[in-house]
């Protein structure tokens, strides 16, 4: 990635305990921070949804017993790109490729849609997932603000 060339202009670091009430807190905080790039309502909604999915994954999958912290970093670049990194020190994902498949879910009895990674992939421009079993998962997503109008 041409991260250095882009020029970082602002950064937010956030650490939240893995409680479901923080899904709303996380997406609202990220949205407020991203507002500096003057995104459209659709772009902001896309980012909020992607953040909500990643944070929910930490709460539901990474820390199934409820104890743990979620680290969120949002970086704004001069070229109007937003980078959101959501990290946990939870149980990790043994097969990331499989987890990213649409409709894949480990949840046999509940009602999870298995669409979390699909949403992140579709609502952001780029999604990178790195995970190690027993160590944790890092989800990095980028989106270019203003590119959406040209694409649609």
């Amino acid at each position: 990635m041409k991260r250095k060339q882009r020029g970082e202009i602002n950064r937010l670091n956030l650490c939240l305990p893995a409680k479901s009430v923080n899904e709303g807190v996380a997406r609202a905080a990220v949205a407020i921070f991203c507002a500096q790039h003057d995104p459209s309502a659709t772009e902001l909604a896309d980012i909020k949804c992607a953040v909500s999915e990643a944070v929910t994954n930490c709460i539901v999958h990474a820390y199934p017993h409820g104890e743990g912290e979620i680290y969120i970093t949002v970086v704004l670049y001069a070229d109007k790109t937003v980078r959101v990194v959501i990290k946990d020190h939870g149980c990790g994902i043994s097969d990331v490729a499989r987890a990213r498949e649409p409709l894949y879910t480990t949840d046999a009895v509940g009602e999870r849609s298995g669409m979390g990674f699909t949403v992140m992939e579709n609502f952001m421009d780029r999604l990178v997932v790195r995970s190690r079993v027993g160590k944790g998962t890092v989800v990095a997503m980028t989106k270019r603000i203003g590119a959406c109008a040209a694409k649609e």
Partner: protein, 113 residues
């Protein structure tokens, strides 16, 4: 709005149950909504369930699970389900998951088709 605020109003007549949901649907709110909706459905035993999403400002994939679960319950009870008036952003995730294949999505708001 920092926390997840949500709720609903209901109207039931002639075995038609309309639920007007409002606020945000995520994994946090879906748990309570699921329990409430199922209790309502089992009490009212409607032939048709209509979920009005016109006042839903945010929905992520937990909402997809919530809708699919209620759709399955309605099918099991021999009824049908429809979703009404999702805003453009909610419609985007419904479309991504291909929800139109399962239930009717009507009265779309702000649709540019």
């Amino acid at each position: 709005m920092i926390h997840t605020d949500y709720g609903y109003e209901i109207r039931a007549r002639d075995r038609l149950l309309c639920v007007y949901l409002y606020g945000e649907i995520d994994h946090h709110s879906a748990v309570g909504l699921r329990e409430d909706l199922d209790a309502l459905i089992l009490r009212e035993r409607p032939k048709r369930l209509v979920l009005d999403l016109s006042r839903i400002e945010f929905m992520d994939s937990a909402g997809l699970g919530l809708l699919m679960g209620r759709y399955r319950l309605m099918c099991d009870l021999g009824g049908e389900m429809a979703v009404e008036k999702p805003n453009e952003r909610v419609m985007k995730i419904l479309r991504l998951a291909g929800m139109e294949r399962f239930f009717e999505i009507g009265g779309r708001r702000g649709e540019r088709e």
